[in-house]
């Protein structure tokens, strides 16, 4: 198998607060493979965004980050700010949920993309301008030469997200991290942006990490899925395997809580996610899990190979037998 582009080992992130450390990410191992589209799903507070913001050094200075995060073989945890900045925006780039707050409202689009180009490449201003127009054209913005001179407020939500994508791919990144890129958009515009992300992935041959909570979006575009809960990976595998036979009770619960076409009662997961100031002992999901036993409280279950999936439930084997019976 090819070398992973981004590789996390026992990656941890915690935020110091007055009342103690909030443990947002509690030990993640992950390899992002070249050319794949990896979807990271989980509810709010599961640590899915923080994992990648932490890798890219985009969290506040007092954040405690430990473990290892290697980008193209280079260690990012503990590296100097300068070194991290050199990689971010070049080898790895990010698209955010809200393009209006991610773009500078008082600068023209061309200025912002030129800045992105010139900070990583030795390129003249005219060449950067031409490249900007080319990029805007690539992401499907009509009349790119005129639009480049406009300000963010002159673009609609979908068009702004296209500008964000143009900016992210300006330096041909190897890994593109998209953090809820379509959550703020309407479904018809969402469909356009998802198509665009897939097109970009094919043309740049980049790996895409798509952070989302929408299981429908995942089913449309992902190759591989990672399900997160309370700062840990609970299940991971190829898209069809995860959707076809989810083996972790949390993944199952998520799938079951979606409304179907009939008007039967929905099946919510009882309770609420744990407080990450004092995460529970053992499996963090056990308080909401209808299959939990005493053994689940003993230690944090590790992610292990289970058939064609990776799973972090100590009762996975029993549950599969129980459910197929």
């Amino acid at each position: 198998m090819a070398e992973p582009l981004l590789s996390l080992r026992d990656f941890r992130v915690s935020f110091p607060t007055m009342r103690g450390d909030v443990q947002a990410v509690r030990g993640i191992d992950l390899d992002v493979r070249p050319g794949e589209l990896l979807a990271v799903v989980g509810e709010s507070g599961s640590g899915k965004s923080v994992t990648f913001l932490g890798t890219m050094g985009l969290l506040p200075k007092n954040t405690k980050i430990s473990g290892s995060a290697k980008l193209l073989g280079q260690e990012l945890v503990g590296a100097s700010a300068l070194k991290v900045r050199r990689s971010c925006g070049k080898d790895v780039a990010m698209i955010f949920q809200d393009p209006l707050s991610a773009l500078n409202p008082v600068q023209r689009i061309v200025t912002q993309i030129t800045e992105m180009l010139q900070s990583h490449q030795n390129i003249s201003k005219t060449a950067a301008h031409d490249r900007t127009v080319e990029l805007l054209d690539l992401v499907g913005i009509p009349q790119p030469d005129e639009r480049a001179l406009q300000y963010p407020h002159e673009f609609s939500g979908g068009m702004r997200q296209r500008v964000m994508i143009a900016m992210a791919i300006a330096n041909d990144p190897k890994v593109l991290i998209a953090d809820e890129p379509t959550t703020a958009l309407d479904v018809t515009v969402q469909a356009q942006i998802l198509e665009l992300i897939q097109k970009i992935q094919r043309e740049l041959e980049a790996a895409v990490v798509l952070i989302t909570h929408d299981l429908g979006v995942v089913a449309r575009v992902a190759d591989r899925v990672q399900v997160m809960y309370a700062g840990r990976v609970v299940e991971r595998g190829e898209l069809t395997a995860v959707y076809d036979h989810p083996s972790h009770p949390y993944t199952r619960g998520l799938m079951d809580s979606l409304p179907g076409s009939s008007r039967e009662r929905l099946k919510p997961i009882p309770g609420a996610p744990p407080n990450m100031l004092n995460p529970p002992s053992g499996c963090a999901f056990r308080a909401r899990c209808s299959y939990a036993t005493e053994a689940c409280a003993a230690e944090i279950p590790s992610l292990h190979q289970f058939g064609d999936l990776e799973n972090a439930c100590i009762r996975a084997e029993e549950l599969v037998q129980e459910l197929t019976r």
């Binding site: 509810e43 479904v187 356009q192 089913a219 449309r220 809580s257 409304p259 179907g260 929905l266």
Partner: protein, 335 residues
């Protein structure tokens, strides 16, 4: 068939905006809602769907007279609420309530939950044991009576939305506008709130106007569905009909854009990808408002605005060329 509880006819709402042009300022109107008619019968849910800017929230506000309609009638149990005096309106308000989208900003952070829920009772001058009523309401929405002493920040999003629902129920209304009630919630929590709304409807005989952009939730809760595009209804009918036999090209595009959580369906189905964005409601396109993005628009669509009527589809559609064949929108039952 039961009597309609709410009848909306030819509802129009325009907002005036000022735009400066040189030294002059020019007044223009935003056509937020243009000639919308529908009705809701007792105990029924009407799902109102559309993208941002389609005017669905404005409709919700107009039927409660939180906004004054520009034209048209809104009859609530036979009374035209657009015409009654402010004093009569206050009495009427007991019977219809609203639940907002954002459970974080719709509760006063400095009021206890109990005080928030009891406030409508105080405003309406209803005496009696408020504490008892609050305790009952909290229990009704699945919270504990002693939660009344706490403040909103002590609750999760799902719990806050339950508090918002309890507050809406305080005056025993018969009709509730639900404006994106579960959009801000995680799926596992959302399911619980959707179930609660269904239970309350059954127990209390409530009617809902359910405004949302999430089509899978709307399908689950609605008896009838109205699809809005740029201030107009484009399709209106029984939920199953609209989902399984959408006849308007916009409805088809909208449904085909909704991602289904099933990889097999997603990989095989055909999608109508709409080009561009919704045009500005300041200067909507002539004729059919959808024609600028419509894959099958013809000349007549620019001249003649299509009426919302049944053209043999079994339910009203506002299109000159209603579609009989549809893009494959498979059921999600096979899980």
């Amino acid at each position: 068939m039961t009597e309609p509880i709410l009848e909306v006819e030819h509802l129009v709402k325009q907002f005036t905006v000022k735009k400066s042009e040189g030294f002059r300022s020019i007044k223009r109107s935003v056509h937020a809602v243009s000639d919308v008619s529908f009705s809701i019968t007792g105990g029924e849910t009407l799902g109102l769907v559309g993208e941002s800017g389609s005017g669905k929230t404005t409709v919700g506000r107009c039927v409660l007279r939180l906004l004054e309609p520009t034209a048209g009638t809104v009859r609530f149990k036979g009374t035209d609420i657009a015409k009654v005096s402010a004093k009569e309106m206050r009495g009427l308000r007991k019977q219809f309530q609203i639940v907002f989208q954002d459970p974080y900003s719709s509760l006063d952070p400095r009021m206890t939950v109990g005080a928030s829920i009891a406030e409508p009772l105080t405003i309406q001058g209803i005496g009696g044991d408020h504490d008892k009523k609050v305790a009952d309401l909290l229990e009704l929405v699945g919270l504990a009576p002693d939660h009344a002493q706490r403040f909103p920040h002590e609750f999760s999003g799902g719990q806050r939305q339950r508090i918002g629902i309890a507050r809406a129920l305080a005056l025993d209304p018969s009709f509730i506008v639900l404006d994106e009630p579960v959009s801000a919630l995680d799926v596992s929590i959302q399911a619980g709130v959707v179930n609660l709304l269904a239970d309350l409807q059954e127990q209390l005989g409530l009617s809902y106007l359910f405004i949302a952009h999430d089509l899978s939730v709307v399908r689950h809760v609605s008896d009838n569905i109205a699809v809005m595009y740029l201030g107009k209804l484009v399709e209106y009918g029984p939920a199953e009909d609209v989902y399984t036999k959408p006849a308007h090209p916009y409805t088809q595009a909208l449904l085909s854009a909704v991602p289904e959580p099933d990889p097999a369906i997603e990989r095989t189905r055909q999608r109508i990808l709409l080009e561009g964005d919704v045009p500005s409601p300041i200067n909507p396109p002539s004729g059919c408002r959808f024609r600028t993005r419509c894959p099958i628009a013809k000349e007549i669509c620019a001249i003649d605005p299509p009426e919302l009527k049944d053209r043999g589809q079994g339910h009203p559609v506002a299109c000159h060329f209603p579609q009989t064949t549809m893009v494959s929108i498979s059921d999600r039952t096979a899980v």
